[in-house]
Subunit: 340 residues, 4 copies
């Protein structure tokens, strides 16, 4: 067993249509400063009326590759498949009672056909569910269009655990947007900074700095750190922090207040399925209120909403720290000294 230290942060105050609570959140990490940092954000959330957390979209994806003899055949198949949406939906529905086809995206490259399938997957994150459904779709297509050859059950247009734009544009997992309005006085007392400082830093670091790095969809400071802690604590496939790390932090001054938001188009979490039943994950998912009898998908969306709010806490705290020369290293050094 790799035993990753785990602590609870919060409570984080979350509001909105998905949940309305103050909630404690477990984070498993070897980077111990993550806990006090996220805790500082949580304190702000309680002072300032709570973080609104919204799940604006929800589907898992898998892509397949087929090969035609030439572009004409490829084009005919694509045109025809666009007409056969209901057949495709039936094929998917047949593979699991939770799988529901929501989008089919095609690309043709010469004689090659790439198809990205998006689906609702109930409360599972859905890796296996979409693979199984994709396999069924691919078999059905090859039976229906006998001139096509199999190329791959996974075509890198999914895109699973790799950095791309397609997940940002078409979505993968839950698309979570969280926001918080922080008064100038809370900025000062808890975050030791000002709204204008945060807004400026966000432009210079997260937006322009990321552009200079040749980054794609990565205008944030450290979503990946918080996602890793959250995913490990709740039994997720933590390699999905790769696409999860993509997202946009946006802040603006509103009068004297700070409006601060995080947008995460690719939060891949489930409350059931592979990995979620190891004992510590089981317990954490229960504590997070994601094992309650609800409509399929609602527990997973609740989990995603909590995840997003936790990311906001950690992001806000680090951004605040970076506005103050020296603060970041002082904090790290102090913590490390304590640990020794």
């Amino acid at each position: 067993m790799a035993e990753i230290p785990m602590q609870t942060v919060g409570p984080i105050k979350i509001v909105g249509s998905v949940l309305n609570e103050e909630i404690l959140v477990p984070l498993a990490t070897l980077e111990s400063p993550l806990w006090p940092s996220t805790n500082r954000g949580a304190k702000v959330s309680r002072e300032c009326g709570g973080i609104t957390s919204s799940v604006v979209d929800d589907h898992m994806s898998r892509s397949i590759i087929l090969e035609a003899n030439n572009v004409d055949e490829a084009q005919k198949v694509v045109v025809s498949l666009k007409q056969e949406r209901s057949e495709l939906e039936a094929v998917v529905a047949n593979t699991s009672r939770y799988a529901q086809l929501t989008d089919v995206h095609f690309q043709i490259v010469g004689c090659l056909i790439y198809i990205r399938l998006a689906m609702r997957t109930g409360d599972a994150s859905g890796h296996n569910m979409v693979t199984q459904a994709a396999e069924a779709i691919q078999s059905w297509i090859m039976k229906t269009y006998s001139n096509l050859a199999y190329v791959s059950l996974s075509g890198n247009m999914c895109t699973d655990k790799k950095v791309s734009s397609i997940n940002g544009i078409l979505g993968r997992g839950k698309y979570v947007v969280c926001e918080l309005t922080v008064s100038a006085s809370t900025c000062k007392t808890i975050l030791k900074t000002t709204p204008a400082s945060i807004v400026e830093l966000n432009v210079k670091k997260n937006l322009i700095g990321s552009t200079l790095s040749g980054g794609v969809f990565c205008a944030n400071a450290h979503y990946a750190n918080i996602l890793l802690g959250f995913y490990l604590a709740t039994g997720q496939d933590a390699a999905n922090i790769v696409e999860g790390s993509q997202g946009i932090t946006y802040a603006q001054c509103r009068g004297d207040d700070l409006y601060f938001s995080v947008t995460l188009p690719n939060v891949i979490v489930g409350s059931v399925g592979s990995g979620k039943h190891v004992p510590y994950a089981d317990k954490n998912l229960e504590l997070l209120g994601c094992r309650v009898e609800r409509e399929p998908g609602e527990n997973a969306r609740r989990l995603a909403a909590i995840c997003g709010a936790t990311v906001l806490c950690g992001e806000l705290s680090l951004m605040a720290a970076l506005t103050n020369p020296g603060e970041l290293m002082r904090a790290h050094r102090a913590l490390e000294r304590k640990e020794t």
Copy 2:
């Protein structure tokens, strides 16, 4: 504690100038099919003379932001700093006996100055070491050029745990390249495939599919999965799988044989430092032979070389599976049934 299941795979046969051994490698993961899959690749490595694993570059990076009053001032500072390389080197060397400045990269945006610092960091992965050195550099610059204002100690051009091109181009952590030549008969008996099938799939999936995803530096099938398992097992900051997931799989037919390679420009691992002294990591690093008295940096490079070879094993096995319609899901279903 989040207790992540851990198993040993291999032994993997590794050759080359860094190490020449058959070695067992621990992987911690919730995705149980990863073990048998990587094991299949390890078996190939033993049949085929071993995986050559090379570390072709090695440095950690951090970026800072400063603000001038205008572009003229910004340009003058940059021109001047390029002359003061030895001063900058001294400032870095002064912060740690392991830190050694290897590259300074500048970008000017209007009146803003972005500086990416690359350093050798001994056997540590070096997150804290480069941050500390960057802080010292930033202080020194601000003292020397009093017209500059502090913007941020981290400028997203580092780039830490975010998806970018700069890490692929300038490198971050260890740049590892591994290769293996597999005979047609081993392809058939162990991998159930042919060299030509692997070569073709690599083009259609890893190269073209990734292009269609709007991906950057991500022409591979699943480096992230194996990296996560390796990083968790050895006490690394596993959020670095974000940049680690970037890399290029390249295969070619050589006569009847398969030449198969993985190129990972951003393997961020250390054998000492934060996280490496939790008990299970300590033990694993010792088993991997990375706690031996060596020149500073050699233990970490050994670790990176093993990491790359492990990635090759997992990548080769999945690629082989994907050439066979149905094999991937059959394997997953069989394993899950066993687990129930």
Copy 3:
């Protein structure tokens, strides 16, 4: 007047459902080697049964930005607009008898709403038509949802004349795919190369080289050169070569033959509209057979199909040249000497 030299290349033999002809194509360029190079490809097209040129998609895009007070409002508007597709279609149709809404793509970032609108635009390339329709949509939305504020009529998610992934993924202009099968003997006699050499070079240069450049959707050798010549000769907005330059060259060995294809997701051309009625463009569009009475859009798609085939000719010829050490510079030097 800037007087750009113009010559006719070809005839290029084009087959497929859009057109079936041998056709002469004008190219305006200051890079004189472009003509003989494209001519070589044209000769291959005549020897080998013609280039199949397909237009697999067709729509122009523009994006708008609106601002809500918070994410909840933003989400409600997006949910509601998805229901009001027919109203949006009516608003668009009302701005021009050729404009027809085909796709609406939403992204929410905090309280900001980004909407990318895709439309059929008849035979015009459609820059102004989509801007006008986008303006009408934006006005309609702001009237319907009075809580929204105007941000911008163009939101960089269009994306016009900038490098992005969204145009490759969702398309912009005509999505053109062209292919040709070249016998080994024609490869040898006209192209001085072999099918295998072209296939290998494509992997190493266009696919892997582009990956190393941190490129997005740019797995080709020089689409931009040929597009510029074609756009200038036919009165197009030549700045659209920026997105036009994106695309994928794919080649494979088929028995002894070479299968060679170019895929251009973003060919932005029109046979009418702004710029197309300067005298030389008028004449060229007529010579290309794109001023015939046809269904709206068919002349523009014919133009795009010819454009794609011309790109294939130039791409194939340069790729062949690059397989031979020394050939490229020899050709350039010979041409320059002649010009002197």
Copy 4:
């Protein structure tokens, strides 16, 4: 001849170390609104003390590919070539009295070696000069390391006329930064807007909108339009607007004033060489003062500095227009009506 309409805009007031003048600039374009729009920016430049235009870097690039038998050989060659920098410099210098090697960048992928060469090229934009030098370098390397095989004289890591990050990070052509400070009253009278409106729009459109498009290094509104007009008017290889279109617009409020800057890392222009001696280009280059006896490279850098300032004029004007709902379309409609 393709006869592209050409008009002169300005005078643009430019200050800084490269030039200090009010200068008229020719733009050739089929998009007629570009002239009045750029003229508006030029008027602002004269009202507000001038645009500071700096050329912060200058070199052209070409990349080559070589193949070793395995990664060990590849690594040895790269290590060795890094020692032989002076030999490489001599090889380059031998191909032209203007060519001067400034940077060599290596990447290894399996057994493949990619080398990006950067050079000073005097007053030429340098396409042919770097190709010729790259050919000489490649020959020299193959002679020196007989175990290497030729792959390609151009490896897509250059990157010529394709969209990448490498040109933004390592530079290609001239790296130009221009800035202007505009008083609130000039913002109001000439630009019909406020500093804050421009600053906000830049964040929402150029920075966040571009991020949502999956764009790389393209945080601007329409650099490509102005570059095309400038390149066509001065005999440049206009296909280089592809990389030229990349760049970052950055604005900030300074007290009541607007600080506005454009950063263009890839301006590829020359005052001599292929295309610059067609009559209209010859004349325009003389009018721009780029045919004066100066140190090699100074005429080309002057041209680049003027180009950047022109881009700033057009960018500022469009950004201002977009802050006002309806203005953009009103302007286009008015111009088109006049033209009819």
